[in-house]
């Protein structure tokens, strides 16, 4: 998977699934420590020897990750401990933990072999996986030997040795021929570095481990390897994060201190041996010890000196902060926008000073490296020459000389290969970080702004005019098309000369501009003009509410007003959810294969946490449109499919990636093949939003319709109708007429839903035409298509269910209507007795005295019927109003 350590499905779960209950990895735990009088929290994943210095907020959240609480519950509980925590922060914390693989479900299994190629220029050999156990006996001895007083003694010995050695050090530094072996500097370097210094380096690492153990932490792995073809040793002392800074400084210092002390002892020894080879070996070994320690104290490379400095300054990510500072300084110097960073003046001063030192040190390092390359190169040149002369029989054959020459050439060759590899990797990293002009040939975006089809023409023209303004502000070449229910703005951004980071910023900015205009437009056009059925439905509901008994009328009116408010809000959110963009980044096939693994994690995964949809829209999209299950399924399918896509770059000439919450679809690769069809992809967002929303409310409405069958309220029988008073019969007749009208409206809505469904199916079929032949394939597109098909499949079943329930309920009305009308006709035509006339008069007087008195004189069966109609109508109206959204 290209997304490397990121577990996108877990991140989706955290961000979008309200039912998700994250559980902390059992292999990790937090230790609360008091370091230098300050509370400190270290999150430890001991199995993989990973340690994270976390803040109090992260610690609070971490302790609540028990697999039983949802993110919301974690937030509620965490807020009791820390009032300043926000829900967004909680999500970000959990996402960052999942990102590091310390949430149980996302934890990656780590299998490590003893020999590992860590990178192109680093080979690791894990000798002792847990030195605290393997070297327990040794540490028992070192524990008793280590004394605080030994530190000043060791420092004094090292310093004295260096004072005595100073002139020799400068001499060897100026003339590396001193450490030549068989006349070869390269071989000399090889001999001292790999053979003579081996035990010194071993002691160096053991010193780290012994002091780590002495201070109370567990030293972990000890190993060796090759770094740029030079041997190196390492000791994992990251458990020392649980200790004080002072202890950490001591542990870091122990290694180089042991090296310089041994070097000093070698210097002393050299005074006791006669001048000659033995003394030379001792002095050159001392030189390697001191020089190596000097490199080891480099402030830039993450070695002992760097860690000591970071601990002294108490800035754990000193190097990253310095590089970021340098980057910002350069950007500012070139007039580029610079993100604001809040830091204390002291910290800024430290980082600025460290940055300056780092730059100087890097320059010095580059100089000495080039100088060494020159010295070694000179030797190698001589070796090549000698070898050529020997092969040309100009010089006599000497086995030792040939061996030395071949060894010199080979070692120098390997040395240079190491640099070339390093250079290639560095250059690739730079190019990956900034995807630049030469790699992106063309960039386009289509923004889809759906609007209600029933909107007056002037409304859609207004939307198009606004979209043109935004398009003109972002691109020289654009077109804006209005074809209900979509307004499509297609922008051609052309060749791109920007880094990936800037490109992401531009994407967000353009999308945000269109999204804001769309939101503003939709919020201003969701009333009766845009949705004609809403007005009729509202009137009907208000009249139904008025027929409730006096005591319940207020509640009914409030229910109606709540319902209408929710409908308005839902319609607004639904249209906003259907807003989306499609981006195409056209690359040459070579560039595409090379950088796609970088592009997607950068474009997509890093944006997941910054959804930032306005207001309640984010929640609406999660709950009513996309659905957590569908999101999780989509992300896992994309993950699955991506394995195939990244393995077969020769098959997939382009890759599509959907970010559903943002409604952003990105095509990268040979997009000229899809650009023409992209413009109609707005249907994807439109039908996806519609299908999911209608599916949800159809469910609710069908359940309510079904409950009518189960309810105790039975329809009025012929006998009951005959017993109704005239006034009651008149009200019932009016209701029946209204309900019959409603039935016709619902039937109309059903017809609209059927058409929209057919249109959605047509759209889904049309998606196939996006990839029109077998010679072109788009990776990661299939999951999008199947997700869409699943949505539509669900709608069909739910729609059929709703329709059958509605027809069943309508039949009841079919029977009631004729009976009511028959009774009305009978009363109107039939002769009335004196008693009957008197009763009618009394009714009229009563009703004129009682405000809305009809309801109070209804039979219980009638009241139940009205309530049932009221509740059912609201849900059915929801469906009816939603049917207006597209057609």
């Amino acid at each position: 998977m290209a997304i490397e350590s990121r577990d996108v499905s877990a991140i989706y779960e955290i961000l979008y699934n309200p039912a998700y209950r994250p559980r902390a990895s059992p292999s990790a735990h937090v230790e609360e420590l008091t370091v230098d009088g300050q509370p400190s929290f270290v999150l430890m994943k001991e199995a993989e020897a990973e340690y994270y210095d976390i803040d109090a907020k992260t610690n609070t959240v971490w302790r609540l990750l028990d697999g039983k609480k949802t993110i919301q519950e974690i937030f509620n509980q965490a807020k009791k401990t820390d009032e300043t925590l926000t829900e967004k922060e909680v999500k970000e914390i959990v996402v960052s933990l999942a990102d590091e693989g310390i949430i149980e479900s996302t934890e990656a299994k780590v299998r490590r072999s003893r020999v590992e190629l860590a990178s192109a220029f680093q080979l690791d050999i894990h000798i002792l996986k847990d030195s605290s156990k393997s070297l327990a006996g040794l540490f028992r001895i070192t524990r008793s030997l280590i004394r605080r007083e030994e530190l000043p003694i060791a420092l004094a010995v090292a310093a004295l040795g260096f004072v005595l050695f100073y002139s020799s050090f400068l001499h060897i530094f100026a003339d590396p021929s001193v450490f030549q072996v068989a006349g070869s500097t390269v071989l000399g370097f090889f001999f001292f570095e790999l053979l003579v210094m081996l035990p010194v380096y071993a002691v160096h690492e053991l010193a780290h481990a012994a002091v780590c153990d002495y201070c109370g932490a567990k030293p972990r792995e000890i190993g060796t390897g090759l770094y740029y073809l030079a041997p190196y040793f390492y000791c994992d002392t990251s458990d020392s994060w649980r200790l004080s800074r002072r202890a950490r400084i001591m542990i870091s210092l122990a290694g180089p201190l042991s090296t310089v002390t041994i070097s000093a002892l070698l210097v002393f020894w050299s005074y006791f041996v006669p001048a000659g080879t033995e003394q030379n070996i001792l002095r050159v070994a001392a030189f390697f010890g001191y020089y190596g320690s000097l490199i080891n104290f480099s402030p830039v490379i993450e070695t002992d000196g760097y860690y000591i400095l970071a601990d002294i300054l108490n800035i754990p990510n000193l190097r990253d902060e310095a590089f970021s500072y340098i980057k910002r300084t350069f950007r500012r110097a070139f007039g580029r926008p610079v993100p604001a960073v809040r830091q204390s003046a002291r910290r800024v001063r430290i980082i600025a000073f460290y940055s300056a030192i780092s730059v100087l040190w890097l320059a010095y390092f580059a100089y000495t490296t080039l100088w060494l390359v020159f010295i070694y190169g000179r030797d190698t040149y001589s070796a090549v020459l000698n070898l050529a002369l020997t092969l040309g029989r100009v010089r006599a054959f000497d086995l030792t000389s040939v061996g030395v020459n071949v060894a010199t050439i080979s070692y120098f060759g390997l040395f240079m290969v190491g640099f070339v590899v390093m250079g290639i990797v560095a250059s690739r990293n730079i190019r990956m970080r900034g995807v630049r002009l030469e790699t992106i040939h063309d960039k386009r975006v289509s923004a889809f702004l759906p609007f209600p089809s029933s909107l007056q023409r002037s409304g859609s023209s207004d939307l198009a005019a606004r979209a043109k303004k935004v398009a003109a502000a972002n691109a020289h070449s654009y077109s804006v098309t209005v074809e209900p229910p979509l307004c499509v703005a297609a922008l051609k951004l052309g060749r791109v000369d920007q880094s990936l980071e800037d490109m992401r910023g531009e994407m967000r900015r353009i999308e945000q501009s269109f999204r804001s205009l769309h939101r503003e437009f939709i919020l201003g056009h969701r009333g009766p003009d845009a949705f004609p059925t809403r007005k009729a439905m509202a009137e009907n509901l208000i009249r139904l509410a008025r027929q409730f008994p006096q005591a319940e009328r207020r509640r009914a009116a409030s229910a109606v007003s709540h319902f209408l408010r929710r409908q308005d809000s839902n319609l607004g959110n639904l249209l906003q959810s259907a807003f989306g963009t499609v981006w195409t980044l056209e690359l040459s096939p070579g560039d595409y294969t090379r950088i796609k693994n970088r592009i997607f994690p950068s474009l997509i995964a890093e944006d997941i946490g910054t959804t930032d949809l306005p207001g309640e829209l984010e929640e609406f999209k999660k709950q009513m449109v996309l659905g957590s299950d569908a999101l999780a399924q989509l992300s896992s399918e994309i993950e699955e499919q991506s394995k195939e896509v990244y393995k077969k770059p020769e098959v997939y000439q382009a890759t599509a990636y959907l970010e559903p919450m943002k409604s952003r679809l990105v095509f990268v690769g040979r997009t000229e093949r899809v650009t023409g069809s992209v413009v109609w992809l707005g249907g994807l967002y439109l039908y996806q939003a519609w299908a999911s929303y209608i599916s949800t409310i159809l469910d609710d409405a069908a359940i309510r319709l079904r409950s009518i069958r189960l309810s105790r309220a039975t329809p009025l029988t012929k006998v009951q109708i005959a017993k109704l008073r005239d006034q009651e019969l008149a009200v019932l007749s009016e209701d029946v007429e209204r309900m019959e009208a409603l039935t016709k409206t619902v039937e109309g809505a059903i017809s609209k839903i059927e058409s929209t469904y057919e249109s959605a199916i047509n759209f889904n079929d049309s998606l196939d035409s996006l990839v029109s032949d077998e010679t072109f394939d788009i990776g990661l597109y299939k999951p999008i298509m199947s997700s869409n098909s699943r949505h539509l499949e669900g709608v069909r079943d739910k729609f059929e269910n709703f329709r059958s329930e509605f027809e069943r309920v309508s039949k009841r009305l079919d029977g009631l209507g004729p009976e009511v009308r028959e009774e009305l006709a009978r009363r109107a035509s039939g002769p009335k007795s004196l008693k009957g006339r008197f009763r009618g008069l009394l009714e009229a007087v009563r009703s004129s005295r009682l405000i809305g008195g009809s309801a109070s004189r209804r039979t219980p069966a009638y009241d139940a019927e009205v309530k049932q109609m009221f509740a059912t109508s609201r849900l059915v109206y929801g469906v009816v109003i939603a049917s207006d959204i597209i057609l």
Binding site: R457, S479, T481, E483, P484, A490, G676, W680, N762, D765
Partner: protein
């Protein structure tokens, strides 16, 4: 639905088929002088004039007149290319618009419509050839 029935392209279709097309289409109105589709724009819809008149313009030159029952916009849907010409209403005009995917569904499902489309396109091609040779 009646309007659809009177459009030559849809003549001969069953009432249920006409109803389905009517349900899937949208009505749009245009004022005199208003551009209905613009050359170079992305094409999303297929248009049938149900009332009024329009002209097809290329580089400000009128190349064809469209009347009630005429249709346009299908070319951009066939080849995914931008609109090839402007269409401007010469009087208040009413059009029915079928979105791309509904148009394609109609084409796939109905041979009569395909025949009508091909016939009209052949006529336009022939007219174009004649204009070129003249």
């Amino acid at each position: 639905m009646e309007i659809f029935g009177s459009v030559p392209l849809f003549r001969g279709l069953e009432a249920s088929e006409l109803r389905a097309i009517a349900n899937l289409s949208k009505e749009m109105t245009f004022r005199e002088g208003e551009t209905i589709v613009r050359e170079g724009d992305a094409g999303l819809g297929f248009y049938v004039i149900t009332e009024g008149e329009a002209v097809v313009k290329r580089r400000n030159k009128t190349v064809a007149k469209l009347q009630r029952g005429s249709f346009f916009g299908e070319m951009a849907l066939f080849d995914d290319q931008p609109r090839s010409a402007d269409v401007v209403a010469t009087e208040p005009t009413r059009c029915l618009v079928l979105l791309r995917w509904n148009f394609w569904a109609l084409v796939f499902k109905n041979r009569k419509v395909v025949r009508g489309l091909l016939k009209e396109m052949a006529r336009r091609l022939r007219a174009g050839n004649e204009a070129t040779s003249n």
